[in-house]
Amino acid sequence: MVEVRPLPSADSPLVEAVDLAKHFDVSPPWLTRVLERQPRTLLKAVDGVSFAVPRGRTFSLVGESGCGKSTVARLAVGLYTPTAGRLVFDGTDLAGLNSRAAMAPVRRRLQMIFQDPFASLNPRWRVRDIVAEPIRAHGLLSETRAIDRRVGELLELVRLTAADGQKYPHEFSGGQRQRISIARALASNPEFLVCDEPTSALDVSVQAQILNLMKDLQRELGLTYLFISHDLAVVYHISDYVGVMYLGRLVEWGEARSLFRKPQHPYTRMLLDAIPDLEMTGRRRIPVRGEVPSPMNPPSGCHFYPRCPFANERCRAEVPLSITLPHGGEVRCHAVEEGRLTEAAVRQALGRGASAP
């Protein structure tokens, strides 16, 4: 599992997560712990996640609330130091850059866009200063006129106008604010953008504008994206590769079209089945059972076993390891490995589901 297998693409990866882990200490305060004889509690927000993002491509992470997507995002731009494993950017282990000075040249090349475009923009700054901030911080340009020209270019790049630079964030709609965040993120000429739910706070028509813009920018500037969302349709639209997370683990990843067409992991299948059907085909689905358990106290073995229609004793006892799929992705599931997740078995689960509550 530690080794990173090459992606089906010929390009070398720009970003690689190798057995990446982030554990948070969520123990009660020391005194309470001693008095009540409680052990330390570790929350394994990210637990041994490996994937690679080829240059110029989009790798998306999906999964339900609390599965660790944002934590991976923060690890990927070096905002968190991993508890274990590595985040390798263009051949450099981010954790090895332990001084600000060592980090700076790499930091310029990775930027992040957040879900809430309002919270992430300083309301007292004019837009032009917000966008110019990374240019000044990284000392990319010093002359005021050059900075102004560059800010104007960036605003036009995100389909705003140079004149918008005079305004304050509150004068813009949600979608326009997200454009401003994107302009700011692009100001340092990054190669890699981590986008954490960039459209989740937006209406669908505005989301479409932002997704179109992101695709255009990727083409124009050759950007590499790590895209995070819980919306599978958005992920289908934007991604080249998709990884599915469940309680801190990457349970399956692969090329986007094949993952959606032939999902392997029972959790991936369940998620795909839960998408409301806009096409109104009246298809049958694997019944969704139960809810995501607490990440503080995840189920043993395969975290998904209490909700899985294919679980058996081995699933409860043993953590499934990654196995490579014929078309290049990876999956962590005993049933897939044992070859017992046949069409017939899945059909039977469907049949049983129709009569179950």
Binding site: S173, G174, G175, A208, A233, L271, A274
Partner: protein, 334 residues
């Protein structure tokens, strides 16, 4: 489908909701009319700020001041309810109209057990004894899929997960057997895998109890799977209303058309999504004429001057000049 002769369960006629503010009166819902028939699920969709929640809260008389109904009327089974005294309206709420909000915690009192809240609501609207009401509460919890209901009935809301709480709220909304349930974004706060469970539960239970549903959401997928008819709102007004298949698959109003195209769909390989440029105007900046005209790809002469009223087209109504034969020469139908 319900026949035209039968009085609709709910009739909303020319509803207008206003907010007096320092800078003038804002109109959040403007001349909105629609019906909901017995047992029907009406979806109400639209972007943030379109006036969906205002419509829902106006119908049940829960508008928060300074918001107020400034015109029109709301009729339940042919009887006006928008001008009833507070106490009478309160009785109708719960008994005849149940409510489910986005955040289950707005409907649940954290200080009382789930059972106590159910029993109280059941007893307010029926003459069941304490013991019978408690038994009914357990039954309801079982109906909404809460495991071990005999035990859970004595627990407090915080002891339930988000999805389980929303199940409790559904039980609470249905416990007096209302004729109509208004559900405002009932699954938006929940996880994807839970959303599907809650929506199918809501749909199944309402049809078993014979309750009609006004389902407010911005999720077209949920509407496509759940609703019989859909009303699309834009800037406080009705853009289009009609059978779900017509609206989702053959949108007539240019706004609905753009909205549907902007939704990504799994399995649909598009390089770009349909894009409606701009965004919905703020209430203080709604343009004259058709409120959609600055963004409309099909805008023509009358649009920036005259406001289109809903025009009947087959089983739908569409507020767009393209469907007025005298204006467009029948261009909208093509």
């Amino acid at each position: 489908m319900s026949s035209a002769v039968k009085t609709p369960l709910l009739q909303v006629r020319n509803l207008r909701v206003e907010f007096p503010t320092r800078r003038g009166v804002l109109t959040a819902v403007d001349d909105l009319s629609f019906d909901i028939h017995e047992g029907e699920v009406l979806g109400v969709v639209g972007e943030s700020g379109a006036g969906k929640s205002m419509t829902g809260t106006a119908v049940i008389g829960l508008l928060e001041p300074p918001g107020r109904i400034a015109g029109g009327e709301v009729l339940l089974r042919g009887r006006r309810i928008d001008n009833l005294p507070y106490e009478e309206l309160r009785r109708i709420r719960g008994k005849e109209i149940g409510m489910i909000f986005q955040d289950p915690l707005t409907s649940l009192n954290p200080l009382y057990t789930v059972g106590r809240q159910l029993v109280e609501t059941i007893r307010t609207h029926s003459d069941l004894s304490e013991g019978r009401a408690k038994a009914r509460a357990v039954e309801l919890l079982a109906e909404v899929g809460i495991p071990a209901p005999e035990r859970r009935v004595n627990q407090y809301p915080h002891q339930f997960s988000g999805g389980m709480r929303q199940r409790v709220v559904i039980a609470l909304a249905l416990c007096a057997n209302p004729r109509l349930v208004i559900a405002d974004e009932p699954t938006t706060a929940l996880d994807v895998s839970i959303q599907a469970q809650i929506i199918s539960l809501l749909k199944r239970l309402c049809s078993e109890h014979g309750a009609a549903v006004m389902l407010i959401t911005h999720d077209m997928g949920v509407i496509a799977e759940t609703a019989d008819r859909v009303a699309v709102m834009y800037a406080g007004r009705l853009a289009e209303i009609g059978p779900v298949k017509d609206v989702v698959k053959h949108a007539r109003h240019p706004y609905t058309h753009g909205l549907m195209g902007s939704i990504p769909i799994v399995g649909q390989d598009l390089d770009r999504l349909t894009q409606i440029d701009g965004s919905m105007p703020r209430l203080s900046e709604i343009p004259p004429g058709c409120p959609f005209h600055p963004r409309c790809p099909r805008v023509f002469e009358p649009c920036d001057q005259e406001r289109p009223d809903p025009i009947p087209v087959e089983n739908s109504e569409v507020a767009c000049w393209l469907y007025d034969d005298k204006r467009s020469g029948g261009g909208g139908h093509g």
